[in-house]
């Protein structure tokens, strides 16, 4: 085989849309969507919302970097990561609506629920830049913590009773591995960079660390489903310590963020930033219901 021009070898000769690549696959091929009988449906719905909201809300936060990242390449990288998470959110919210059986689809769940009905952890919603509350280093600190935790969480779900959630976890692990790698690359570079980058990286880590405790607190829904986030705390700590030691940083010793009467994100109790985030996420759909491009 020979090529007359450099781009020809990229072409799938059966496909004229060569610029967009070929061989795309379905997100969840061949997964059994029957609702498992050995799991409480209400608990499964609640758990799908927890996982879906984590992904949706962090996706929204990362999208705020669009056109504001320090480099064009980083702008695209953050958008890619946000879109990976949005893809996970869509599958999980769709599953939540399907199991609930009240006719709510992914859009109804993303756009028409109020703040108290969102089940994401606070780590996903807090402001870490580009606006108040952080900068690029803070964003990378959050992404490192979030993706390291998510990888451990999804790994624990590979044999989960609901095959759809298990399949989303398997798909998501490949995406999260890249997110964590990307964040770790930056945490090491900034931590081990100049005095200023080190200072900012350390400050970013200190900003997100109070929200780590919540990630490993088992919610009653998780307990009833036989899941225990505390079980993967050691794995999380070991990965974080490896990255921080390469970056010349130490694990912050900050006090965990306070809960409200023992409740936090998983109970629908959110930080002040959440209302603003949802206003931006939902206002278009609420102003023009069903609007499409």
């Amino acid at each position: 085989m020979s090529f007359d021009n450099a781009y020809e070898s990229l072409i799938d000769h059966e496909d004229t849309h060569w610029a967009f690549g070929t061989g795309f696959s379905e997100a969840l091929p061949g997964v059994d969507r029957a609702i498992p009988s050995d799991v409480d449906s209400a608990d499964l719905v609640a758990y799908c919302l927890m996982l879906g909201d984590d992904a949706l809300v962090l996706s929204q936060r990362l999208a705020e970097w669009c056109s504001r990242a320090p480099e064009l390449e980083e702008d695209v990288a953050l958008a890619n990561i946000a879109l990976d998470l949005l893809g996970q959110a869509r599958l999980l919210l769709t599953r939540a609506g399907e199991v609930e059986g009240c006719g709510r689809d992914e859009d109804a769940l993303a756009y028409l629920r109020d703040e108290r009905d969102f089940r994401n952890v606070h780590l996903a919603e807090i402001e870490c830049g580009p606006f108040a509350g952080g900068d690029f280093a803070t964003t990378m600190a959050r992404l490192l913590v979030f993706s390291t935790w998510k990888i451990a969480q999804y790994s624990s779900l590979l044999g989960f009773a609901d095959p759809v959630v298990a399949a989303v976890a398997a798909k998501g692990l490949k995406e999260l591995a890249y997110h964590r790698d990307h964040a770790a690359q930056w945490v090491v570079r900034l931590g081990d960079g100049t005095d200023e980058s080190h200072r900012r990286m350390r400050a970013g880590l200190a900003r997100v660390w109070p929200f780590v405790e919540e990630l490993f607190a088992a919610h009653p829904v998780e307990q009833r489903l036989g899941l225990d986030p505390a079980g993967y705390r050691a794995e999380f700590d070991s990965v974080i310590d490896t990255v921080l030691s390469a970056a010349g940083l130490e694990r912050p010793t900050s006090v965990p963020a306070a809960r409200v009467n023992g409740r936090a994100g998983r109970d629908g109790v959110h930080t002040e930033a959440m209302g603003y985030l949802l206003a931006e996420l939902q206002h278009l759909h609420r102003s023009l219901p069903g609007a499409t491009w």
Binding site: Y7, S9, D12
Partner: protein, 94 residues
């Protein structure tokens, strides 16, 4: 910041491509980040299965000024193509 980040040339091998081909360039602080940036910028639509990044400074390019001395002499030497041989009927795969 951009001004201090060097330029990298990106080569991608598609699923059915046999060779890496040049697809563009980007800025990155070092080779590891250049590879990741290339993944994000040039393979997000499922274009490739392998990426090479090369510092743009490492490429020695022919100059447009040398275009004629370099390339014009081959323009009228069609006999350099092996098209003037008569091929025997019984030789397969040629």
């Amino acid at each position: 910041m951009s001004s201090s980040w060097p330029l990298w040339e990106v080569f991608v091998r598609g699923k059915r491509g046999l060779n890496h081909v040049h697809v563009g360039s980007l800025h990155a602080p070092d080779a590891e980040m250049a590879l990741r940036n290339a993944r994000d910028v040039y393979t997000r639509r499922n274009e490739g299965v392998s990426i090479w990044v090369v510092p743009a400074a490492a490429i020695t390019a022919s100059s447009p000024d040398e275009k004629d001395p370099f390339f014009a002499p081959s323009g009228d030497k069609v006999y350099r193509h092996p098209t003037f041989y008569s091929i025997p009927e019984d030789v397969p795969h040629l």
